[in-house]
Assembly symmetry: C2
Homo-oligomer: 300 residues x 2
């Protein structure tokens, strides 16, 4: 029988259905949900409490299986509780709140660090980008201020690229907005490609908005560097898994699926720009060790 | 001063603005326009007539600069006139009508031959395709009848892939319709990719609906063969030239261009399936010689 309260179940459900926010935002939401679960778990002992928190954490991880940051955030908070299990419930509660707060508060500082490192790493000239992420947007704003025009792909099905383009244009940045299929035609004009990530696997492969892999191949084809801006919270311990899809049937014989993510192999990634440094894909593996600990805390 | 009559100028203009038809259809239209131009050219001599026909042929070629079939068809008809210039205007007229008729009538037989060769060349299993062309559609219909499911990309901006998908689904073929950006996610399910062409350059590079180059890169990335079905009329004598675009300005700072074609380099093409045989890209060069003659007939 589940020990998850209806209120927590609902919070997990809204994370599952969320298509508006990226992995970073949802990870913070997951950390927050664990703190509420702490108070709602029907537990008499540290063991019962941990078992309940683990169940909530696993449900959060499974709500967004393509986003390692969600399971990392949930796992990190549960690990904090686990480490204080011998000290009693009040100590566990303080540890959970402190760890969740730390994760939630890290966002702005992390983003600023990534922006600074990206500014040093990226060449001058036009930057092609895909989809929208808060950190990537902050980098593009900075690069544009030093004179880089931006080429944004629409990024179907949700067209987050239109948001990126319109917000940058409003700031006075020269932006070219192209359909996803036009990327090949415009790639020769780009000095670099910059995208965000939903998950980075231990081997350096990147899950991001569908269409990212084609951009990476087009960049390689034109010998243009391909950068991924990501906080280390998004690094997963494991290997790439199959993509997730929502098939939709419209008329007999015709299947119209919607896939939101694709996988870009590590060999197409020039560098991963994180708050802890700029890494070649092969050098990301040590960062995946922490994530393995977080998974273990969730019994995943 | 131009010798092109208003009626011919209008016919050329509708070829320029045509986004509904492919290169094969427009080439036949161009051949037909030259026969009308023969009667409307204000010419007293074979020399004057040829000069007028060349002007019309060049205008046709420039109306669709990314489609070699249009200049090939116009050039072939003008060449026929040129070869009879010593025999007087009636002989020239007969030659022009015969050559134009030959080009126009060749369509169905050419298409049937390409379908037969494609059936032999393509592997069993799912076929991914892009955009719509009559010949490609005929091949897909045949492949589907022997059990190959079809994966069609929408092919923005005009979404001809939706047409391909809906027509095939109506015939009872199992079709998956995906947005262009989803190609990477579905490529591993394909046994081969099949597309048409608007122009094939002498080195084997292919101009086709924008998005084709990314499909070819994704196919190569998954080690899946990439086939181009094309009649030899589409082979151009020259080298690839820059793409053509129609920029559209919607708000300050934001440029929204529309590019209809992109260029797929020869090294990504497994084979060109034509009515004269299945060619490796490097073997297409001899076919480009005829096209050179046609250009010469237009003084291009």
């Amino acid at each position: 029988m589940t020990t998850i309260s209806p209120r927590i179940a609902q919070a997990i459900e809204s994370i599952r259905e969320d298509r508006a926010h990226g992995a970073g935002w949802l990870a913070r939401d997951a950390a927050n949900v664990i703190t509420h679960a702490f108070d709602e778990c029907p537990a008499q002992s540290a063991t019962e409490l941990l078992s309940c928190l683990r169940e909530v954490g696993r449900a959060l991880a499974q709500a967004q299986p393509s986003m390692a940051a969600v399971s990392n955030a949930a796992g990190a908070v549960v690990l904090a509780a686990e480490e204080k299990a011998a000290s009693g419930l009040p100590a566990m509660r303080r540890a959970v709140l402190a760890r969740a707060r730390q994760i939630i508060d890290s966002w702005e500082k992390t983003s600023q660090r990534i922006v600074r490192r990206a500014e040093q790493a990226l060449p001058r000239g036009s930057i092609m980008t895909h989809s929208y992420s808060a950190t990537t947007f902050a980098i593009l704003e900075r690069l544009a201020s030093r004179g880089s025009p931006i080429i944004a792909t629409e990024s179907a099905p949700l067209n987050e690229g239109k948001t990126t383009a319109r917000l940058l244009a409003r700031l006075g940045v020269p932006v070219t907005l192209i359909s996803d299929a036009q990327a090949a035609a415009f790639m020769p004009e780009a000095a670099a490609v910059l995208v965000g990530a939903d998950t980075v696997f231990a081997d350096g492969a990147v899950v991001n908005k569908v269409g990212t892999c084609a951009l990476a191949l087009l960049a390689r084809n034109e010998r243009i560097p391909f950068y991924v801006a990501t906080e280390t919270l998004k690094v997963a311990p494991g290997r790439p898994t199959a993509h997730h899809q929502t098939p939709e049937e419209r008329q007999p014989g015709l299947t119209i699926p919607t896939v939101y993510f694709d996988l870009t192999p590590a060999r197409l990634v020039t560098a991963l720009i994180t708050e802890e440094g700029v890494f070649a894909p092969k050098d990301i593996r040590p960062l995946a060790r922490r994530a393995r600990q977080y998974r273990k805390a969730l019994s995943l």
